[in-house]
């Protein structure tokens, strides 16, 4: 009985940041619950998740409770009434088929928009009167065990000499619709931005796109979510969401460093 009770308590404490999930004495670190959502489209995903969690939680508590009530009430040590047989209840069978089916149907329809927005409706833009898919700002290639990142540069095309190459360091302008092209150089990885609720397996040989709009500045994680080898656990990058000006300035600085043609040795010791 402790299993369902403790299980439910774990969730409740994690969501509510209550001890022992709040970093106090003899406690687990705080923030055990979902990572902060900074994506425009992330809210509905979280809502769906919580809805399913509460629904299944309620059913779980209900059925576990019923189980233990019956185990208690009809314990042979206490109860000597003879067993009653029943031929079932047609009404009950219909009710407990219709209700879950209706719930699932509701969920299926409710989530259609969220799924479409995240996976199907690639952003478009208008060029010369034609609606074309928005070209990606950056191409992220998963490789054992890092994320190789290539920005399109001024010409807007990836694969030209003005591209900026970085590793594990992804910068994104805030409050803009961003399209990222993702691919893999060797094995399966999964491009996972927890705070943007974006996760997509990168499959070798397959070209894919993810898109989102970040609405809060800060530093977040890029992680790999598909086991790719011994280094999978440390295949972590840094996502920096910043203002458009800062982003442009960062691009310029990095590109200038990438194009650096001059070097003067520094006299004396660099370190103490």
């Amino acid at each position: 009985m402790m299993v369902p009770v403790l299980g439910v308590l774990t969730f409740v404490c994690a969501i509510g940041n209550i001890w022992p999930m709040n970093g106090g004495a003899f406690a687990l670190p705080p923030d055990q619950w979902l990572p902060e959502n900074i994506s425009e489209a992330g809210g509905v995903i979280d809502t769906l998740f919580m809805f399913i969690l509460y629904l299944t939680g309620a059913i779980f508590v209900g059925t576990s409770g019923a189980l233990f009530v019956f185990m208690w009430k009809f314990d042979a040590a206490r109860n000597n009434e003879p067993v009653k047989f029943t031929h079932g209840s047609h009404t009950l069978e219909i009710v407990w088929s219709i209700l879950p089916a209706a719930t699932l149907l509701f969920l299926a329809i409710y989530q259609m928009n969220a799924w479409a927005e995240a996976k199907l409706d690639r952003p478009t833009e208008e060029i010369n009167g034609h609606e074309v898919p928005k070209p990606p700002l950056v191409e992220v290639t998963g490789r054992q065990f890092e994320w190789r990142i290539r920005y399109a540069g001024h010409d807007g095309m990836i694969g030209t000499p003005d591209d900026l190459h970085t590793v594990n360091d992804l910068h994104i302008p805030v409050n803009e619709e961003i399209v990222i092209a993702i691919k893999s150089q060797d094995v399966l990885h999964s491009f996972f931005l927890p705070n943007l609720r974006i996760k997509q397996d990168v499959v070798p040989g397959m070209k894919q796109y993810v898109w989102f709009q970040a609405n809060k500045k800060g530093t977040y994680d890029v992680v790999c979510a598909e086991l790719c080898g011994w280094g999978h656990y440390k295949m972590r990058g840094r996502l920096t969401v910043e203002s458009r000006q800062k982003f442009d300035r960062w691009l310029e600085q990095q590109f200038a460093e990438q194009e650096r043609s001059e070097f003067t040795p520094v006299a004396g010791d660099e370190d103490e």
Partner: protein, 296 residues
Amino acid sequence: MTGDGAGPTASFLNPYPRDYRMGVFKFKSTPKGGKPTYDDLKHILTDGIPDTAMPSFKVLPENEIDALIHYVRYLSIRGEAERSLVFYVTAELDPDEPMLDLAAAQETRAEQAAAIRDYVTEVVQKWLVADSQATPIAAPDPDRDLAASIRHGRDLFYGPIANCIKCHGESALGDGQTTDYDDWTKELEPTNKEALQAYLGLGSFVLKPRNIHPRDLRRGIYRGGRRPIDLYRRVHNGIDGTPMPAALIKPDGAPPETKGLTEQDLWALVDYVRSLPYESISRPPVIEEAYQRERL
């Protein structure tokens, strides 16, 4: 743990991790025989080495990267000092003569300890002067005719002075020769079958020798860094520990018959190498729309 490049994952990696104990590093700003500077090691740690298993540690805090740089230097100093002491012991001392005889008189022990300290100091000294040995690089004329520079670079690439095609191949794919070894592998005497078997029999920490392949220059992947100064360093100083030679430099103002490459020549070579990945034959063929498989 000893920095010998033979950790638990080493045998699965191609290329093998670096053995610090020889004190030789490939990608640095100093000439062959010199140690890398602090900034060279920092560059490798923060950017990693593309095309190898060396990852980028850019997400680590500054103080941790600093600590790592010092620890790599320590491992290399320790390894090189131990190696030089081993060579000293096998070359100079009798088989049962100890390097440091704790039972001997105080004076003898002091002498022996001083000799050991000298070997270590010699190694450390090389690291201390590294920062000042970095090759200064003057930028090329930003208004130069890039196309002409690339053409000149191509002539030098195929020409007799630089003779790049000897190793990098006539197609620059790195297939000019593939039978050479790097200095770390040469210690295992890979061409001497008996000796090699003996070395490999010592244990799993002795990694099977592999040939060193000249770089395929058409891929646009540069292990030591993709900045112009990085490529210039590779051509000017060569790559320590590998068959990639340093350029024979012809100083400005030398008589025209002098053999060698001027700084302008080196920049022309760099311009040519940088243009190679964008040549049409370096790019994958364009597949017809109808046969493309692209998701969304």
